[in-house]
Symmetry: C2
Subunit: 445 residues, 2 copies
Amino acid sequence: MRLTRYFLPVLKETPADAQIASHRLMLRAGMIQQSSAGIYSWLPMGYKVLRRIEQIVHEEQQRAGHLPMLMPTLQPAELWRESGRYDAYGPEMLRIRDRHKRDLLYGPTNEEMITDIFRTHVSSYRQLPLTLYHIQWKFRDEVRPRFGVMRGREFLMKDGYNFDLTPEDAIHAYNRHMVSYLRTYERMGLKAIPMRAASGPIGGDDTHEFLVLAETGESEVFYDSAVEDLTLGDRAIDYDDRAQLAAIREEWTAPYARTDETHDEALFAQVPEERRRSARGIEVGQIFYFGTKYSEPMGALVTNEAGERVPVHMGSHGIGVSRLVGALIEAHHDERGIVWPEGVTPFGAGIVNLRQGDAAADAACEDLYARLSAAGVDPLYDDRSERAGAKFATMDLIGLPWRVTVGPRGLANGVVELTERRTGRSEEMTPDALVARLAQIYAAR
Amino acid sequence: MRLTRYFLPVLKETPADAQIASHRLMLRAGMIQQSSAGIYSWLPMGYKVLRRIEQIVHEEQQRAGHLPMLMPTLQPAELWRESGRYDAYGPEMLRIRDRHKRDLLYGPTNEEMITDIFRTHVSSYRQLPLTLYHIQWKFRDEVRPRFGVMRGREFLMKDGYNFDLTPEDAIHAYNRHMVSYLRTYERMGLKAIPMRAASGPIGGDDTHEFLVLAETGESEVFYDSAVEDLTLGDRAIDYDDRAQLAAIREEWTAPYARTDETHDEALFAQVPEERRRSARGIEVGQIFYFGTKYSEPMGALVTNEAGERVPVHMGSHGIGVSRLVGALIEAHHDERGIVWPEGVTPFGAGIVNLRQGDAAADAACEDLYARLSAAGVDPLYDDRSERAGAKFATMDLIGLPWRVTVGPRGLANGVVELTERRTGRSEEMTPDALVARLAQIYAAR
């Protein structure tokens, strides 16, 4: 993309009402614009990151064998009356009446609706196991929305639901979600720690939250630092292998890690003192096993092998897709701006032309732009007639991982400059070498 | 995808309340499920088609130079009070109050919101031209929703908005949209004819609707049959070339083509009699040039080259993404089921194993499944233990363009069967030849 053809309305001033880094930086970098309290438009660069995150979530869900579908944003009140949650949910649920005075609500989550779909179409254990998920806008009418997309009212979430015959099958689905979530966050360049959590309005006994450590997190967390060293890396995962998934779950959940709601001082005291950590965390996902909590009242039954009608065992599993954009920035920024990990960056590299209008510089930039585009790097070319300082400041603010600087002086020596945003380290090299280097960095993406 | 691992709840019975083919077939093929009047869930196969259509729209919009972004579903009433449409819109607008008694609405369209974004960030003609678009769920509270996704209440729409300094620039944007829409529909295997239309609640003088001819269409249309023979084919289009785009617009709009709202009997009489057609059509898109209708009342001004503050010239442009799924089926089905064009089919081919459990048949199917997957054909393998007749009926109903039939008898002769859904023609060939043929058919997709 050429910057002169893009819509990137960066702000010079720091917005006064934005209290945390991600909110400030998303506004300053022209990623979002508020339309009402807690409701945002995603401007082109913000939307690009959002879609990138959505894509990673889709890929990892489908790799785990889960089926994508889509439920609507508005739901009929009747379904929620069946489960008893319509009256129980409180004022966070946005209740709506249509022109025929029928009660609707803007879905804050979808357990009832997916259970209704399931009971309509599935009647035999032979159709199990089944895990359906979707990525859709939800609404929770927060009394005081704040922190930008981190605690908005309209937000994008992946929610998935498993249907299994037995508790053991449902636990396998739970483990599948835990592992696929670990992979999802790792691909985004995030360290998200699964922590034993409280179940809240979804219900159920077994539940973990995934928390990204950040000073501005809303939860206090306590953990054994050993959990920070774990990575999946590129180990091969077979999502049908129950023992492998159970072992990975054990690996991540054996070290102590809990939110303040489930924190147990006595257990924590058993962690070696030098590994005891307390910090703040941002919730970016949660998985639940709740058994027959919805299938019993709503009559989601299947016939088992013995011919008996039994309620299915269910769980639900969520990733905060729009919130992740904020969480990523909280985890990856410095005083100059955002520092995107390669996995989610809106553009693979920024090209800065130091002397727009200089024939050699323009030609070299055009050539690099074409070759990096062809190599799948997806560059952003700053082709504005601005001073170098202004161009550098914009690149630092929007946080592309790599900057390519092109100027007459370097070109006279046959080189351009490659700068890593994270470290600030620069290196001169030929355009050929630079294209090869960036192509290699993004080959795996 | 293996059918035993998929969720494809096909219905044997024709749903009683579905009046038109697309509604019946989408229900029978397990593509959608109604949750309230005019509000649907998209089950996995329906969702796959919807995403495929969305992807084509994104690609063609971006090829034309338009920038993707995303606006929220809920909008503040204040913006619509500025334009005067909050009170004017009528009961189709779903009005909502949040917990703080603030008025919101579920956006039926986005002229006000995009104008607000524009006026916040753009102040100079140097930042023009600019065209922003998004693909988002909308809501119109139809008094009597019907025809499935064709006239639902919650629907997915691409809407785009251009901002230009002069009427001439805005007309170029209009032409860009017309051409990109023609390409979009052609890629989906649809013939959509641009027809001079009435402007309705969006406003403006210059507007065309794109109509797909179908018996169940809601509009009566009148046209010169010459327009049916036009195709863009693979001609190279430069979206910056004003003369080229104007010529394409002229080519498509010179033949008479109007909806009943703008029909002119005297003009129609000048069409040679043998080319005069009247038919029914389904609207799948509309483009508008409305000048300063929103920019004046809402103060969306830019400084021109002479230093004067002038309102920008705007247009808006919509494609009914979810409605297109229905329109495609109306245009492409027979008595046995859907007949997907290759451009939008949920799976490239279906593999039918005639004797599940037979070692040779199973091995041949597994091999074809792996090779077709690797070749990008995205096959659906019917690996159920069902009779051949039931498998054929399912494949005909869901309408994949190609069926691969594998059985012990053919394998004994080293062949499998390839059947074209559209014509019913079958041909025997080696598995190698079949993989090569299908790979070639989908290479361009």
